[in-house]
Subunit: 139 residues, 3 copies
C-alpha cells in the first residue's frame, strides 16, 4: 500500500469556467502504478470546487445557471464587509458543491462512467492561477 | 492494510427514486474484514448521486422538491442541444450533490448516525439499471 | 501505512451555527504522525454537514441565506408527518451539502488554502451535542 501525490497547476479564464481534469488525473493514476485504491482530488482554496459532469458545452452553461439560483449575483453578501471584493457568491457556491472528490481505482482504471468527467469549477469572479492536489492511496 | 471492492447492481423505478444502500454497504464492510478504515461509495454515471439521509417516506418527497428549486423542470437547458433527451436538470442536480461518499469504519462498523442511511438518488428522467462501486481501504 | 481515529465532541448554539474545526483536525493529524495520506471528517447524523469555507463573520450569514433558498423555512415538509419536529428543512440541506469531507495530507500538513477552513454546519433547528469522526489513513 502506497501514497502518491501530484499537484496540477493551470489558469482559469473567468467566473463559471469549468475545466476537464480527467486526463490529468488518469495520468497521475498511471504514474502511481496503483491497481486498487482511491484518488482524492482537492482544491486548496475557498472559491473553487470539484465535481463530475458530462463535459459538453450545454451543461457548461446549465450548471452555472443553477448556481445563480442558489447564490444570485444580485443580492447582498455580508462577505462584502470584510474584503469589498465582490465575490461573496463565489464562496457560498464553492461551500455547497465542495472542495474534494474521491474516485475508486479498480484494475488501474478510474471507475468513472463513460460520459462522466472530473471537473474543476472556477467560481471566483476573476481569472485565477489554480492548484489542485491529486492524491492516490492504494496497492 | 488492504483494499476490497464490490459493485452493487440494481434497477431504479423513476426520476427521484431514492434507494437505501446501507444494508449492502454494511455487508461489503463485513466481507472485507476491515476493522478500521474508510468505505468509498461511488456512482459511475452523471445522472445519479450519493448522499446520506434519514430514510423515511416524507424526506423522500422533500429532497426532490428542493432539487426542483435548484434545477427546475420547466426551464430551458442547453444540454438539450446535444442529445435532445430532456435530462439537463438531471445532470445539473447530480453535479451539485456529487457522485461519491466516504464513511469511516471504526471497530468493523460504519460510523453512521442512528437515523442516517446511505442512499442512491436516481436523477435521470427514466428508470435505469445502475452500478455503484463500494470500495474499502483499511486494516 | 496506518489508520488513526479520533472523535471530536462539541455543543452547537443554534440553527445555522458554523464551527471552525480546522485546529482540532490539525491536532489529530499531528498526533497520527502521518506524513502523506488523507483525513476523512464525517458527521454521524442527518441534520449536520461538513464543508470548507473562509471563516469570517459575513460568510457565516451568507451561507445559511443560500440554504434558505434551497430549502426554505416557510414551505411544507412531508417529514413533518413522521416526527412533527419541524426540522424537514434541516435534513434536506444536510443531504445536499453532505456529511463527509476528505482532505489530502502532504508532508504532515493539511493541503488547505490560506483562507480555507474545515467547518461543521448545525442545520438542526435546536442546539445539539455533536460528534464528528476524524479518521486518517496514510504513512
Amino acid at each position: 500500500m502506497v501514497t502518491f501525490t501530484e499537484t496540477l497547476e493551470f489558469n482559469t479564464s473567468k467566473e463559471g469556467d469549468i475545466l476537464d481534469l480527467t486526463g490529468d488525473v488518469k495520468r497521475v493514476v498511471k504514474q502511481s502504478r496503483v491497481s486498487n485504491g482511491i484518488v482524492t482530488v482537492f482544491v486548496p482554496g475557498s472559491t473553487g470546487a470539484l465535481t463530475t459532469i458530462e463535459y459538453e458545452p450545454g451543461l457548461l452553461q446549465d450548471l452555472p445557471a443553477a448556481l445563480e439560483r442558489i447564490a444570485p449575483s444580485n443580492v447582498y453578501y455580508h462577505h462584502e464587509e470584510m474584503w469589498h471584493d465582490g465575490n461573496g457568491r463565489s464562496h457560498v457556491r464553492a461551500s455547497i458543491i465542495g472542495p474534494s472528490l474521491t474516485v475508486p481505482i479498480v484494475n488501474g482504471e478510474l471507475t468513472l462512467g463513460t460520459w462522466q468527467q472530473i471537473v474543476f469549477i472556477e467560481l471566483d469572479i476573476r481569472p485565477r492561477r489554480r492548484k489542485v492536489i491529486v492524491q492516490i492511496i492504494g496497492e
